[in-house]
Symmetry: C2
Subunit: 366 residues, 2 copies
């Protein structure tokens, strides 16, 4: 029997202009979101889930019993799961600037009737958090019990504790960083170059039905490698071969076939300009700020924090996660760091891992 | 005073057909090469240097005093240097299949008058070594004192000790592997996809003056990241910014500018089809063979071997280098492994490092 939650995606329409951190504004915006569980009477049991770069608002359950896939964190969120929807009211929204139903570069600009494309204002992690805050208020929640997210979602989680310190009781950030390293920026720049130099990008003004598909697929293939690990890939693919087609540069190894599939399926569900905007938001993310002091930025934090690094994560390696907690502790905050020994690289936070479930469950209920 | 060696590139023309390991043949071939120092009377002081994927035959000295750059390993090769050209006769050739003067996909196919392009036979590391052997014989050398190479050059070095066991006294392989890992194949596949999907690739039959430049630059930008390290990039670039041009997705960080430059300069000196052929040769390289036994393959080796791994190399990490020596030792051979603590990633073998020089010098003279 399929005991998946059955869920419905909803829209929060903010009818009023929204100003972006780096300048620019839009006259209104939409956030697509889902909720699971029930908000209690004093609105004290809400947990906000923040998705990663390529994620969305659909983090648990199915829309219909026949759906092949559950939401991206269904192993963590649901009745009796680590984030127990019998106990908590769980919210997840596609970020502002996203392309899965929230307002972003691929949405229609009401003043022109065309897609925003590059007319969309430059985006930051703080913009995403400020838009989420409006949704949370709309849902009648003043203080979130928790904010939880991995990778880019971890950045949003940290940003919540700084931008709205009195609105969050607990944060859990996984596989994340307080600022993008040169290497992480470098990988994003290669992906962006692949998109921008694709002739079908057309300076960002492509038709939505025939964008820079080649560039976007290349960007995704490369990025996907950074989400895995050497050991994990050797375990999963090794040097296993595909049956030869006889074509000189056709797929020869299983890992090549897997990557091509990842690239192609990403093109079918993601918008290229959005990929540019979101990776730029990642690259600009730098909580150290102008004073180069992470301690200083966390001095405002009121939430209790748990940060979890994964040993095989080489995109946001353990030391980048640990240094966040070290700064919180120096700032005199309640913070704890732990590291999970897992081989699957950056994406370890998404896989089935009872150790992780225990950590989430106990930290949220303690 | 500039005390650079002044050198001349030469051509070895093999007038006779050459058969490739995977099938196919070419009616003749050329290897472009350089030599430094003097071959002694009994031809016992020759050292062959094997270049990496994007390297060539010009590994030391200058062609003219006004040249801005020395050869790629000039810090190692020259009078009184680690590989002392007062003592040794040093040879370096652009590999067969290469595009720096040796016969490869970008060379003219005499039977058609056109470039070989995809008519060039599939290439392996063993093909490169077998072509080098003909050059070595042409130079009157029966037994090489040493074969030395890093990265792809390390693969050639290992292959020499197996294919021509009685023709090599010593091998030094640096930052290399006995077989490409799934991750290394994956990165190469992304690079190849960028080239093949560039409309200017034209199924490999592009005009030599306007090939798939965008795809090749993307491939190089990405590969270049894998040659460095997280720590090295943070040290060199950190989050340093460029002056903004105001363009939305123009270069913002120094590291982006550096990568774009690397991509562009590579396009100016390298051929895209050659990149496809060489990366395929890397991916197919698997000394474990059908019996999955590295020990067995090294049972034929007669040379003494030194293998050097670099702590920050994540493309061919230390354990991949160490396992080569472990197999040699299990096969009862003279072999030693060492690991240098260097932060610059895979390319550490190319940088100024007195510890490395000492190792090379003493192993070659011991």
């Amino acid at each position: 029997m399929d005991d998946s939650l059955l869920v419905v995606a909803k829209d929060f329409i903010h009818k009023g202009s929204f100003s972006f951190e780096k300048g620019g504004e839009i006259p209104s915006f939409n956030l697509r979101y889902e909720t699971y569980g029930t908000l209690n009477e004093n609105a004290s049991n809400a947990i906000l889930i923040c998705h990663a770069l390529s994620g969305d608002h659909h983090c648990a359950g199915k829309y219909a019993p026949e759906d092949k896939k559950n939401g991206w964190w269904d192993n963590v969120i649901g009745p009796h799961k680590a984030i127990d929807t019998n106990q908590y009211f769980v919210i997840c929204s596609n970020c502002i600037g996203g392309c899965q139903g929230s307002t972003g570069p691929s949405s229609t600009n009401e003043s022109t009737g065309q897609n925003y494309n590059l007319d969309f204002p430059a985006l930051t992690i703080q913009d995403m958090v400020r838009a989420q805050k409006l949704l949370i208020e709309h849902l009648g929640i003043e203080v979130l019990h928790g904010v939880v997210g991995g990778s880019m979602g971890g950045m949003l989680t940290l940003q919540w504790s700084i931008t709205f310190p009195s609105s969050v009781r607990k944060i859990i950030a996984l596989a994340t960083t307080a600022r993008q390293s040169a290497q992480a920026i470098a990988f994003n720049e290669v992906g962006r170059s692949a998109i921008i130099q694709d002739p079908c990008w057309e300076n960002g003004s492509y038709d939505s039905n025939k964008g820079p598909e080649v560039g976007l697929a290349i960007a995704r293939m490369m990025a996907h490698i950074t989400y895995l690990s050497d050991k994990g890939m050797d375990f999963k693919f090794g040097r296993n071969r595909r049956k030869s087609t006889g074509e000189l540069f056709d797929v020869e190894f299983e890992v090549e076939s897997y990557l091509r599939y990842q690239g192609q399926s990403f093109v079918n569900r993601f918008d290229a300009n959005t990929y540019l905007y979101l990776t730029k938001a990642l690259d600009r993310f730098d909580l150290y700020g102008e004073d180069n002091s992470l301690e200083k930025v966390f001095s405002k934090m009121e939430a209790k924090a748990l940060v979890i690094g994964f040993t095989s994560d080489w995109l946001f390696p353990p030391n980048q996660n640990r240094s966040i907690v070290e700064a919180m502790l120096r700032a005199g905050k309640h913070a704890t760091y732990t590291e999970l020994q897992m081989d699957l690289g950056h994406d370890s936070f998404l896989v089935d891992a009872p150790d992780l479930y225990d950590l989430l469950k106990h930290f949220l209920s303690s």
